[in-house]
Amino acid sequence: MELWFTERHTPNVKFSIKVDRQLYSGNSEFQRIDIFDSKEFGRFLTLDGYMMLTEKDEFIYHEMITHVPMAVHLNPKNILVIGAGDGGVVRELTRYSSVENIDLVEIDELVVEVSKKYLTTTACRFDDPRVHIFYEDGVKFIRRCEDKYDVIIVDSTDPFGPGEGLFTKEFYGSCFKALHEDGIMVNQHESPFYDEDAAAMQRSHKRIVESFPISKVYQAHIPTYPSGHWLFGFASKKYHPVNDFNGVKWSMQEIRTRYYNPRLHAGAFALPNYVEELLKDVE
């Protein structure tokens, strides 16, 4: 018997992982949630059939979306995470002793429950006393916040489905309002490779550029996401992600990472020419 999980990366490209067994399948008010075990990538989570994370490569995504802003901000204390019900971002954030408060806003409570039960490598720090979970629409939550956070991490799904509000200009504008005058927002920024993903990436970049004075993009290699070439957005009111970055200071905190390091931090902002052009087109 062969059982395969397949995701269409484009109408003409498929990506498949051989499944050992399915551990969970359920529908929430918002989406279908599935958990599988596989030999190659370990356990993995999909939402509406789209790959969210695998045990084998989740560290890349979670380290890159978390440590880049945390290393640039001089004194990040109050953090807001939107999405991220799998717990990966929270796990990385709780490693900073300087952090005083982490608000996590996840629209789908079932994602957190399923993650706690099946994804213990990521959903392992929800019991940290600094973590507060709000089960709410992120667009609504952020609307009421003003001058409150040092760092906002937008760990969204895709620009369609329950997460689509997290790619809108009204959302980015609300994030700007919710940040302190030296605040930083980092977001999952889609991929530049396949046409449809690239168009979504350009759209969100344009909206962020219009909302923040400093808006840069950095990249990482994530094998299980479409094309493997993935981008993150770095939007900031004051700090430049490379010029204002002090790698030595970050290293002194002795946070052990498997992907991120200070040299890679600077390098991640060096983008291929075709990506630079896609970004420039909408700036």
Binding site: D137, V139, K140, I142, R143, P162, E164, G165, T168, K169, E170, F171, G173, S174, K177
Partner: protein, 481 residues
Amino acid sequence: MALSQINAPIYEALRRFRRMRVVPFDVPGHKRGRGNMELTEFLGEECMSVDVNSMKPLDNLCHPVSVIKDAETLAAEAFGAANAFFMVGGTTSAVQSMIMYACKGGDKIIMPRNVHRSAINALILCDAVPVYVDPDVNNTLGIALGMSVSQVEKAIRENPDAKAIMVNNPTYYGICSDLKKITELAHKHNMLVLVDEAHGTHFYFGENFPVTAMAAGADIASVSMHKSGGSLTQSSFLLMGEKINSDYMRQVVNLTQTTSASYLLLSSLDISRKRLALSGREIFEKTVEMAEYARSEINSIGGYYAYSKELINGDSVYDFDVSKLSVFTLPIGLAGIEVYDLLRDEYDIQIEFGDIGNILAYISVGDRNRDIERLISAMSEIKRRFGKSETGLLTHEYINPIVAETPRKAFYGDKKSLPLDESAGYICSEFVMCYPPGIPILAPGELITDEIIQYIKYAKEKGCSMTGTEDINIEHLNVLI
């Protein structure tokens, strides 16, 4: 077998017809789409295969005897009317038919001046004479309200020979008049009551909504099924009470209605009626819940005023339609039309309309909670990014007209074109209006005043989309010589 609301006779007949695989040697010439593949790929094969002509198994809208007649009977039952007609020329054609039924040349009709252009167009067609009742105006919001009973009484007293009274219920903004009392009053004086109920389809199916025209005893109502009822654009119902001779009404409708009624429109009316009859209560409960939520969130942003039942004053605001999301924007220093443009240009959100002081976002069962959140957040952002002080904004939306000539005489009279600035003191021979909402600033036969010219210029400057005049740039007006 007796038909009930679970049936949709036209829809069922089309499905039967499709299975028969009849070879078409009749119009339309696209022949189930095969003759126009680009269009078929765009609209879908299913859709093209039921774009067919009237024929025996499918009945004929001009003279219904089978499935259309059955569908109209079911619609009448669903709306609590004695008779109901399927209309394919929009509510515009329904409004015109009810006026042309009630009035012939020279007959008087009492109506509020803030009627839709379709009503005044009907007066041009049949040469009825309007007796305008000035609507009460809310000076803060700058909008025209409903008809007050005492104003109607006065109009009846001064024009006992009028044939009919027309009422807008609800207005675009959601405001209702005291329909029951106006109907009683009109009937006591042998006048028919015609209701433009374009924005009130849901009143017939939801709970706790204002009274419907048919329930209030009105004689004829025009209902835009395609607005809150979910049918295709351009499809409507004409509802009739006991007193109306529906056979004569059919003749009136046929004066201007197409003889090739679209079965796409007809089936959409049929299916939508069935849907509302079976589950309208839940559908509109959800709609109201979303509108009420959005209203309270928008009011908590500050500045904006999303109004509701607190406007009720027992007379010119007798009731309010809470499914409407009307918002007064001037306190954030922006005209409604500016907020309307910003929502589209900056936030990819298209709302129904913006006028000088207000916007209207149309809420329906098709909305999702997350889209409502986007609308609220976008409005919050517009205030933060673009809000300014309130000064320098024109408030009033409604100017009382001075009627100098009947619409028909003015429309067909000898005229000349004058620059806007030089037109004061002349009688206008055409319409000037912002669309939407399509309520005339000037109608044919009305005196042009400095105040009106100033208003037109202001609306243009703010970016309102103006229509009605022969000169598409509205720099010139046609006036009577």
